[in-house]
């Protein structure tokens, strides 16, 4: 997020707080929809400013969100999208690449942590020397690839079916079933890969690998903090 966008984002955060109940939900839905649809970050903040102004006036007059936006919030969002500037192909590709890398880093990091803890427990129980190598099996690689693909699948579904308006009981039920299905699928995948693809395909030294993960985590956290401070500082 560049400085100009961060400043407007900070202003919008302040004015959004003036909206109540349904108005607050409406602006959140609209902004999420535009962000998911790859609208340019600055353009999202411009629209957010204008729509917040529009909703605040309606709120003052005691009108409903439907009256303010013409009764069809989804249609309103689609029309906004038609006229909003999209992110360039390069910027969108860079963001997707970043998401893919973060996803892979988290998955491999968790796997590294689990493997190290397991080995430490075995050492303590049996009294054998700690193995300073990280064994990556074919099953691990398969799991990471499938889970990364699943993340993109979920993002794709989110991109193609915008959620505007109040969540209904049916939509909540579908979301719960989806979450249970994904968790079950992940557990099944982990079991299948551990059972059928146990061969080690790569052995990495554990200490440098751990250092890389710590460094990557620190860089990620620092970047987030800097962005947050820049946004809050206006």
């Amino acid at each position: 997020m560049d400085r100009k966008t961060a400043e407007l984002n900070h202003l919008n955060n302040e004015t959004d707080a003036l909206l109540q109940g349904d108005y607050q939900r409406a602006i959140t839905d609209i902004v999420c929809f535009l962000r998911l649809k790859n609208v340019d970050d600055y353009q999202v903040e411009v629209i957010r400013n204008d729509v917040t102004d529009l909703l605040l006036r309606s709120q003052e007059q005691g009108r409903s969100v439907e009256e303010a936006l013409g009764g069809d919030i989804r249609g309103f969002c689609d029309t906004l999208l038609e006229n909003a500037g999209k992110k360039s192909f390069g910027a969108a590709a860079l963001e997707n690449l970043q998401s893919a890398l973060i996803c892979l880093m988290v998955l491999t990091g968790l796997s590294f942590l689990a493997s190290t803890v397991e080995k430490a427990v075995i050492c303590l129980r049996t009294g054998t020397a700690f193995d300073w190598q990280w064994d990556i099996t074919a099953g691990d690689v398969a799991t990471w690839l499938v889970l990364s693909a699943a993340v993109f699948g979920i993002l794709y579904i989110a991109l193609s079916s915008p959620s505007t308006g109040k969540p209904t009981r049916r939509r909540k039920g579908e979301a719960l079933a989806f979450g249970v299905g994904v968790t079950g699928g992940c557990l099944l995948l982990a079991w299948l890969s551990a059972s059928y693809l146990p061969d080690t395909v790569l052995r990495l030294p554990a200490v440098p690998a751990g250092a890389v993960y710590l460094l990557a985590g620190a860089v990620f956290l620092i970047r987030r903090l800097v962005r947050k401070r820049r946004s809050a500082g206006g």
Binding site: D53, G70, N83
Partner: protein
């Protein structure tokens, strides 16, 4: 109240005409339309049209700070917008003359004879 399907093609031209008269804040546009007899038209209908006109370079927007909330957007017409408005006026003239001609020359819809 004018049906929205009937308004669809004409509202953009009407917005240009309102903006041509003076620099105007978005909210005042819906009030101006209501005052001219268009009935209540939601901001949710007007805002995307203003966005499109701005994107096409027909109007320009300036932000002014407001004590009550977010910055307010004021619109002015551009030379491209004036050209589009002239084109709209010409098309509208043709359409309204044609519709009027149709109803004057032929038997009216309610079946009564035209006098």
């Amino acid at each position: 109240m004018i049906p929205s399907q009937l308004l669809k093609g004409t509202l953009e031209g009407c917005l240009l005409e309102i903006i041509r008269r003076r620099e105007i804040y978005g909210y005042e546009i819906s009030q101006e339309l209501a005052r001219c007899g268009f009935g209540p038209i939601s901001d949710g209908t007007i805002y995307p049209l203003l966005m499109r006109l701005e994107k096409n370079g027909c109007i320009a927007a300036t932000y002014r700070s407001s004590a009550a909330g977010p910055r307010r957007k004021y619109y002015t017409i551009t030379p491209a917008g004036e050209a589009q408005l002239r084109q709209f006026c010409a098309s509208w003239g043709e359409l309204s003359a044609a519709v009027q001609g149709l109803f004057e020359k032929e038997e009216p819809c309610n079946g009564q004879e035209n006098r």
